[in-house]
């Protein structure tokens, strides 16, 4: 069973000619089939965790370990991490002009699967996945994220999640900026992947709203660069009622 293990992860970022520590010792284990929600106030380092796991060059790892099934993730390049089974659905997916969605998806699937998918089954696979996400077929011919609305970008991210079938999926604020309909469609996509039991999900969010659609097994409160409290789904209810104040007042280390 695939397991992502994060131990005492420490990460810094360069900003305004100063080095700032963002992650201050994160410990977390995500197993295949589990769903973990990471919730926290703005600036707590949630997104830094997501991007650090994916290997974004902006972040410097200064301590700790991350392993996926015992393999050292931090030693891997960004593409190697993806091929090892890590997937990051981004909060702000970037535009890639000149590259069509269909070309991008196929290139990506070829890289992840280690061989080019058979064209006929692939076309069908993509078409069906797009239909499930209420995406118009013309989408495939548009350039990656170019001119996409916020909701389209997120659906495109979840489309990739469904097609690439990672071992561990990190969803970075996938719910932000979505209206209720889009949130439902996106959540259904995530749930389809979860129901296979093949993926461990790390759901990063600021709001409890998405947890009505995606039920987590574990909820972690993230504040001041680390997990400050962990619990079951009931912890989300507490946050819903009380907000993050209890964690930001005394817990903030900045």
């Amino acid at each position: 069973m695939a397991t992502l293990e994060i131990r005492d992860l420490r990460v810094t970022v360069e900003a305004d000619n100063a080095t700032k520590e963002i992650l201050k010792g994160v410990d977390l284990t995500v197993k295949q089939g589990e769903t973990h929600a990471i919730m926290g106030p703005n600036g707590s380092g949630k997104s830094t965790l997501a991007y650090s796991l994916a290997g974004h060059p902006k972040y410097t790892i200064t301590g700790g370990t991350v392993t996926l099934d015992g393999e050292d993730v931090l030693e891997m390049s960004v593409d190697e991490r993806a091929r090892a089974g890590l997937f990051l659905a981004m909060q702000y997916p970037v535009e890639v002009p000149g590259v069509s969605v269909s070309n991008f998806l196929r290139t990506s699937a070829t890289a992840i699967r280690g061989e080019a998918p058979k064209l006929r089954t692939w076309v069908k696979e993509v078409k069906e996945a797009m239909e499930r996400l209420n995406m118009d077929p013309s989408f495939a011919e548009r350039n990656v994220n170019e001119g996409f609305s916020g909701g389209e970008k997120k659906r495109h991210e979840i489309l990739q999640l469904e097609l690439l079938k990672p071992k561990v999926a990190i969803l970075d604020e996938t719910d932000s900026g979505l209206d209720v309909d889009a949130l439902r469609i996106v959540s259904e996509g995530v749930n389809r992947v979860r129901e296979t039991g093949e993926v461990g999900t790390l759901l990063i969010t600021h709001y409890t709203r998405i947890l009505r659609y995606i039920k987590p097994d574990h909820v972690h409160v993230f504040a001041g660069g680390r997990i400050v409290e962990s619990g079951g789904a009931e912890l989300a209810d507490k946050l819903e009622n009380e907000g993050y104040e209890a964690y930001t007042k005394g817990g903030a280390s900045e």
Binding site: G55, D79, R81, A82, R83, M90, P93, E95, G98, A111
Partner: protein, 393 residues
């Protein structure tokens, strides 16, 4: 070619050019068009038409110190049956008919060439195979003149392929008879040290279609000046260009479409990728719609993709409109970067860095490559793009 040479400076050999001389597109040139090099002052680099060009790397083409050497370039023409291929003296009437040199190097080439190549496709002859002109640099300096003339309703594809090492200044004239269709692919696949400065003059006949595809990869300095004017109504010109500018290279494309005749069309699309330190691409797109050119329909676009730090693009579209009675006129220029965020996004989907870069560049050029319509050139181009990309990663 006494006819053209005897004409006083600035007068009307080609009416289009003379009229343009009164406009600002032409008057920002330091001298009016002329066949005589002496009519142009030696540029010092601050003139509008020279300000982007590294004069010190032109190997004397601009100041009269470049001298033709015996083994400059070797030109071989391969033409299907029905095509006339000639080498003619300076007095041939077809030389200079399509346009007049507009800068000192073009005039230098005109003043210095000894023999011109003339390729003629007789009227109503429709070629199924391309005419291929191989221009191979043999390491010397050369001044050239090439004329390609299509009779009425003739159709042809011409591939002019520049390879090897040379210092070459040239003028190329395309003369299209009424209803003729000409596609010209000019490939600049020079060795690293080559210097190539050329003016292309197309004179598009009534209801004729001209398509120019300029592909520039090689050379130390390449400066091309494709120009179009119309000899009758209903003419169409498509000017496509593709360049891949590497570290240290200077590649400059300066276009002029002179809408001097009513009811003509033009469409200009140039795309370039740049990589490496001091890679410098310049694109100047001038479109002039003269007062009499009612019903003109024109669009020009330049796109650049900067792949690394240290590269520089100057992109200047100019549209000058002297009549409001037109179908359409527009222009666009944009330079984008292939940046770390795009690279990260693609890599986060399992795509290795070199492949990610290939994906983006191929996508960037794909549409344009398909416009070429000459299969072996398209294939070679894609190979070239691959090879250029190999060099970076």
């Amino acid at each position: 070619m006494a006819e053209a040479q005897n004409i006083p400076v600035g007068s009307t050999t080609a009416g289009s050019i003379a009229v343009a001389a009164e406009s600002t597109v032409a008057t920002r040139m330091s001298a009016p068009p002329s066949f005589d090099v002496q009519d142009f002052p030696v540029p010092h680099g601050r003139e509008e038409e020279w300000r982007f060009t590294p004069l010190e790397r032109l190997r004397g083409l601009h100041d009269g110190t470049a001298v033709a050497t015996g083994e400059g370039v070797k030109v071989e023409v391969e033409a299907p049956e029905g095509v006339t291929v000639e080498t003619v003296g300076r007095d041939d009437a077809r030389i200079g008919k399509a346009g007049t040199p507009v800068d000192r190097v073009a005039a230098q080439a005109y003043s210095a060439f000894e023999k011109a190549g003339v390729v003629t496709v007789p009227k109503e002859t429709v070629l199924t195979e391309p005419i291929r002109i191989a221009v191979h640099g043999e390491g010397g300096t050369a001044f050239g003149h090439q004329v390609i003339e299509l009779g009425a309703f003739a159709e042809a594809v011409v591939v002019i392929d520049h390879t090897g090492d040379a210092v070459l200044a040239a003028n190329v004239d395309y003369i299209l008879g009424d209803g003729a269709k000409l596609t010209v692919v000019s490939v600049q696949d020079w060795d690293d040290k080559a210097v190539h400065v050329a003016q292309h003059n197309a004179l598009v006949g009534r209801d004729a279609s001209f398509k120019s595809v300029v592909v520039t990869f090689g050379g130390d300095v390449v400066r091309l000046h494709p120009r179009v004017s119309y000899a009758g109504t209903g003419g169409e010109a498509e000017l496509f260009g593709l360049y891949f500018t590497d570290a240290g290279q200077h590649q400059e494309h300066r276009l002029l479409v002179d809408h001097n005749t009513p009811h003509c069309k033009s469409n200009v699309v140039y795309k370039g990728a740049l990589q490496g330190d001091d890679a410098h691409a310049v694109w100047i797109g001038d479109v002039l719609i003269e007062a009499r050119a009612e019903g003109t329909d024109t669009y020009e676009m330049n796109r650049n993709l900067v792949l690394t730090d240290g590269a520089r693009v100057d992109s200047v579209p100019n549209l000058e409109i002297e009549t409001g009675e037109i179908v359409g006129a527009g222009h666009a220029s944009a330079t984008g970067r292939f940046d770390d965020e795009q690279l990260f996004y693609l890599m986060a989907r399992g795509i290795p860095a070199d492949e990610a870069r290939r994906l983006v560049v191929r996508g960037f050029f794909a549409e344009l490559v398909q416009q070429i319509g000459v299969e072996d050139i398209e294939a070679r181009l894609l190979e070239k793009i691959e090879a250029e990309l190999e060099a970076t990663v």
